[in-house]
């Protein structure tokens, strides 16, 4: 695909989103810088409350306001700053260029319309298709996401479908206008693994076919390893580590990333009789009130903490340019 501009397709530059809370204003996203190339795949990981969904909402121009507002930085999409775009223009971008699928498809489908009508409606609104053409295209889209008997299923209401089928319908809607970027926020958390595998295969195939870039939000490192090339680890509104998936999984630099990988009982091919206890990350994610403080926000849970960590904020530092971590005492060696 030829680009009208050079450089990344999407670029967050020092993006800061603030929330007004009872205890004052805090950055839910704190000077976040992320680049996404056309056709690339990026994973966004971290515990809940670290700002993953907020990042997605910010890109979509859907930050809830109040309490939220853009407080600095920019979101460059095809060289245009989306933080300054009009609502009408953002709506247009959401329909055509950037789409999103959410964790719980039932809440984002309208229960009173058939799935065919809902897809056709998107096509009519954004692609200027007539009634008939939109319906035919809707059936094609259902077919492309492997819904059996798409012509008949198009007449079904959302509640008549299984969870996996509903999520496939959401993907069909999200891809209806061939977006440049698809953001998937925990798209398979509510699904069984066999169905999850179907959904991921589908996303990969569609990406190969359409060149859509994918941002995948998940807490599952296995999903990241299978689906994405690059990963961003978030903690308390900040990026704490970024790099190629292989490097991050085999040699995480940030103690938080290391903890995230080691605290999960991954499925192993070698099975021991008596597994070791899991490594624990003690404590929990800080509350929003602590976001933005000029120190390492992971310090209370970190096994490598020093005095410096509690008084000075570590900035992202690279090794080889591609793999960066924000830590005063980064780990070396395999996970």
């Amino acid at each position: 695909m030829s680009e009208p501009h050079s450089g990344p397709l999407l670029s967050l530059r020092d993006l800061t989103v603030e929330f007004a809370t009872r205890d004052g204003t805090v950055p839910v996203l704190d000077r976040l810088s992320i680049d996404l190339d056309a056709g690339a795949t990026l994973g966004l990981v971290g515990e809940s409350g670290c700002g993953k969904s907020m990042t997605a909402l910010a890109i979509m121009g859907l930050v809830p306001s109040p309490p939220g507002r853009f407080a600095g930085g920019s979101i460059l999409f095809a060289d245009e700053d989306l933080t300054r775009a009009s609502d009408a223009h953002l709506r247009d971008i959401r329909g055509n260029s950037i789409s999103m699928i959410f964790q719980e498809p039932m809440t984002s489908l309208n229960p009173v319309y058939t799935i065919g009508e809902q897809i056709a409606e998107v096509l009519r609104r954004h692609q200027d298709l007539g009634r008939r053409a939109a319906w035919e295209r809707a059936v094609e889209l259902l077919d492309s996401v492997s819904i059996p008997l798409p012509g008949r299923r198009a007449h079904d209401y959302p509640h008549q479908l299984s969870g996996g089928m509903r999520q496939r319908v959401m993907i069909a809607i999200a891809l209806a206008c061939r977006p440049r970027i698809l953001i998937a926020d925990e798209p398979t958390t509510a699904l069984d693994v066999t169905v999850q595998a179907q959904i991921f295969d589908l996303l990969q195939a569609l990406r190969e076919e359409t060149g859509t870039a994918i941002i995948l939000i998940t807490h599952d490192m296995g999903v990241v390893a299978e689906m994405t090339e690059r990963v961003v680890v978030m903690y308390a509104g900040r990026m704490v580590e970024e790099g190629p998936v292989r490097d991050i999984l085999s040699e995480p630099h940030h103690p938080y990333t290391r903890g995230l990988i080691a605290s999960v009982p991954h499925l192993h091919a070698e099975v021991s009789d008596e597994p070791e206890d899991l490594l624990e990350i003690p404590g929990i994610v800080p509350s929003l009130a602590e976001f933005g403080q000029e120190r390492c926000l992971f310090a209370p849970r970190c096994p490598r903490v020093s005095d410096r960590c509690r008084s000075e904020q570590p900035l992202l530092r690279g090794s080889g340019g591609w793999h960066k971590a924000a830590c005063w005492h980064p780990e070396a060696g395999p996970a």
Binding site: V195, D201, H219, E226, V264, H266, L267, V271, I284
Partner: protein
Amino acid sequence: MSAVSASGRPVLKVRDLEVRFSVKREGLFAKPSQLYAVDGVSFEIAPGRTLGLVGESGSGKSTTALAAARLIPARRGHVEIDGVDVLSLEGEALRQQRRNVQFIFQDPYSSLNPRLRARDVVREPLDRLGIDSPAERASRVAELFRDVGLRPEQERLFPHQFSGGQRQRLGVARAIASRPKLVICDEPVSALDVAVQAQILNLLRRLQREHGLTYLFISHDLGVVQHMCNEVAVMYTGRIVEQASRVRLFTRPLHPYTRALLSSVPSADPTLDSRAGRILITGDPPSPIDPPQGCRFASRCPIAIERCRSETPPLVAHEPDHRVACHRAGEPIGADATRTH
């Protein structure tokens, strides 16, 4: 079965358990259909061991557990807890039996009474079942708080003042308060963040070591099951299709569904391309309402044959510690069924 250990009889023994629900069909005068939630399930758990129950959503895991604990009625079957036939108990004997089986549920937010202080949440089963004297109950609560890693001053707080992980610790303390013979953990960490999951899983294992607890452990997360369970039973639409020791189930699965399930789990090992050689199955499980004849996996099975659709494969032992319900158990699954791109 290996579930009978040297120390004697199994803590839980389930034979031919059946649970059905009547569900209304569309149409005003249609007579209700039968939903086959649990359809002839048998297993045992030896003292101090953990049996994992895995399977897709709706496969009947929770219903099996609820019926075994006699919290919902079984249509047929036999359940023994520590040798006592519980389905025939009545009155006071049934009430006394309740202390022997306790649950830990997925959602620590909704499973604890929000109006009770933490110490009363933990103490409530002891009061209700009349276990120990009131003074003994108070000291038992203090001991339980220590056991699950909560601080004494937290006894006075209400559940909403705890984090998700701490609330699950409360749920654990409450579940083990009556010194039950069997603890049923139904998706105990599914609602928790990854870091907190590890804390609770380590706690459950430590308590098992220290108190010799016996767990029935329900989870859809195969990594968690592999970590926690000595034995694993795989359910599919109301039936156990495979059961084996941890090592055998994860290294030599014989049922096509188990093999598909294991190969669907995304691997975090960056050097391993788990997408190659994946057994990809399509579609969804059949409806448990008036389910099809024969093997219930036949509609999705890559190696199904004519016989599978007419004849139900019985759950038979292939090895002493490995039972499988499949006419073609262990047969190779062709290249056309595995991923090629």
